[in-house]
């Protein structure tokens, strides 16, 4: 904090008031409602409700649909995080090394940050269209009988590819910044000590990038959990048979389309706990280690 501060005036209260008011009305109150509703069982018209303790949570955990969705979400998130980090790191290392054309490559690699997930979803959807999609034709030509409408794996492959495409740019920007932050003297010493480029990467560059990678891992997991909603909603909508449904997508469909408020709220609370873990993880392990 500052050594000198203003004091003895009510001004700061006025300054924080707008934000605090919005936080209370649109964040804390709805979140408290979600927690409260997760203990209620309402009839289909919302006229009567009954306090049922953890019934909604029990129902959720015993529901094979929810369990499958949870498993899918975790695997999906890890694949997206791993694939987009790997692609971005490969590109960032090379963009950092080359001399000519670096800025053109950078521009071409980062602009997709501005593409909304839903837009990426619709474009990807049309590219994988069974009749006209270029990707479908390509995969068929390669001998893969790609059929997203009935094959859960194919549908999951499609949304993963779109989600990775959308996420490479952010990772690329952070990796490139991380690489540029490695001091010249360290790099020169590394070149003298170790002639093999790949060995140099794995023994020196990669460990130095670890804080960035760790931080990005959390960012990517959060992205895969939450921001892929727009992609799924404009491609598979969870089909076939819920095999490409994430936890967030299920909260939305159960809450808005299925009107199961208690069940949807219980799922929301589980998501809240996951965010809590991811955030705690980020602050506990990352704040300290990251050296920009």
């Amino acid at each position: 904090m500052k050594r000198v501060q203003f004091s003895g005036t009510p001004l700061p209260y006025f300054f924080v008031l707008p934000q605090i008011a919005i936080v209370i009305v649109f964040f804390l109150w709805p979140a408290a409602q979600a927690v409260y509703k997760s203990f209620l069982l309402e009839d289909a018209w919302g006229l009567t409700s009954q306090f049922v303790w953890f019934r909604n949570y029990e129902d959720m955990v015993l529901d094979a649909d929810w369990v499958n969705t949870a498993v899918f979400t975790v695997i999906f998130s890890m694949i997206i995080a791993f694939a987009s980090l790997a692609i971005a790191l490969t590109l960032a290392v090379r963009a950092n090394d080359i001399l000519r054309g670096a800025s053109t490559y950078k521009t071409l690699l980062i602009w997709t940050y501005a593409v909304a997930p839903a837009v990426a979803g619709l474009i990807g959807n049309l590219l994988f269209n069974p009749l006209i999609g270029s990707m479908t034709h390509l995969l068929h030509a390669l001998g893969w009988e790609f059929d997203r409408a009935s094959n859960g794996f194919d549908a999951a492959f499609m949304i993963s590819l779109i989600a990775v495409w959308k996420q490479v740019s952010v990772n690329f920007i952070f990796f490139l910044a991380g690489l540029q932050g490695i001091s010249k003297s360290v790099q020169e010493a590394a070149i003298l000590d170790c002639r093999s480029r790949s060995k140099r990467f794995w023994t020196i560059t990669f460990p130095l990038l670890a804080p960035t990678t760790f931080f990005l891992l959390v960012i990517n997991m959060t992205y895969a959990f939450f921001d892929t909603f727009g992609i799924i909603d404009t491609t598979t909508r969870g089909a076939p048979g819920g095999s490409t449904q994430t936890l967030v997508y299920k909260v939305y469909t159960d809450g808005f389309i299925g009107a199961d408020l208690g069940g949807s709220s219980a799922q929301s609370v589980v998501l809240l706990l996951m965010v809590l873990v991811l955030t705690a993880f980020q602050f506990r392990f990352i704040e300290r280690k990251v050296h920009y």
Partner: protein, 281 residues
């Protein structure tokens, strides 16, 4: 050139193709007729339907935009993007100023309240948030669209971090010259923050423009749809079946939806990268 460098360039070119090709195909296919696309597949080069397709999407009702037009949707998106960016900068700068530059009782407590928003993304409070906005009579309004989104902590953290890095001597000097809190903010802090404001503005404009879940649940009136919600509607129209799907119009709509934020990012690339790196810290 050494073989190693050639490999570097090949990898980078492949990476760029991976990033650019999907949108390139959307762009070129948006200039053909639906018949061409269904007869010959998606196109890699421009056709002659550019004017027709974009005019239909931008100005005419019906087709993939149903009872709205892309022009109307672009306008709504612009309001959302600008309102989100400006609103967020204003409230988070004020809050950060209070927290960093004032000694007052509840400072720490209020900071933690703001911090809590990080734990509460829209997805975990979606149904009750909708209920609150409905009770306040804000469904299908710009206020209801923008205000609930601007309170999150990222902006406040960003400015708090920046204010902390401003040398203390400035405040000491200003106070000796008799400047009060408001004077100091307007004459000293605001001019110093210009670059930071620009950087965060770029990020927030793009984030606001690309909002999906919130506009999806709280706009039910076609005239309030943003272009990203128009995309969802186009998706539904395409898969309802019936006549030959107007894929070319759907592609045109995606191009219109990505063009403004992409131009902003490309044009202000330096600020954008800086804002992104700083705001995620």
């Amino acid at each position: 050139m050494k073989p190693r460098q050639i490999i570097d360039h090949i990898v980078l070119i492949l990476g760029c193709l991976f990033m650019v090709l999907p949108v390139w195909i959307a762009l070129t296919s948006s200039t053909h007729s639906a018949e061409t696309l269904f007869r010959e597949g998606l196109q890699l080069w421009f056709g002659d339907q550019f004017v027709e397709n974009y005019r239909a999407v931008l100005l005419e009702q019906g087709g993939v935009t149903k009872t709205s037009t892309a022009l109307r949707m672009l306008f709504n998106s612009l309001i959302l993007g600008l309102g989100f960016a400006v609103g967020k900068i204003v409230i988070s700068m004020l809050a950060a100023y209070a927290i960093v530059y004032f000694r007052f009782k509840m400072a720490e407590f209020l900071f933690w309240i703001i911090f809590l928003t990080l734990l509460l993304p829209l997805e975990v409070r979606i149904v009750p948030s909708y209920a609150v906005v409905a009770q306040l009579g804000l469904l299908n309004t710009y206020t209801g669209l923008i205000v609930p989104l601007i309170a999150s902590a990222t902006g406040t953290f960003f400015f708090r971090q920046f204010f902390k890095s401003v040398p203390d001597e400035l405040l000491e000097a200003a106070r000796i010259d008799g400047a009060g809190p408001i004077r100091f903010f307007i004459d000293i802090l605001l001019p110093l923050s210009k670059t930071m404001m620009a950087a965060i503005f770029i990020i927030m404009f793009v984030t606001g423009w690309n909002q999906y879940l919130w506009p999806l649940i709280m706009t039910t009136d076609d005239s309030m749809y943003t272009i990203v919600i128009g995309i969802k509607q186009a998706f539904q129209v395409l898969y309802e079946g019936g006549e030959l799907p107007r894929v070319q119009e759907a592609f045109a709509l995606t191009i219109l939806a990505v063009l403004p934020p992409v131009l902003v990012v490309l044009f202000f690339q330096r600020w954008f990268v800086r804002g992104l790196l700083e705001s995620e810290k």
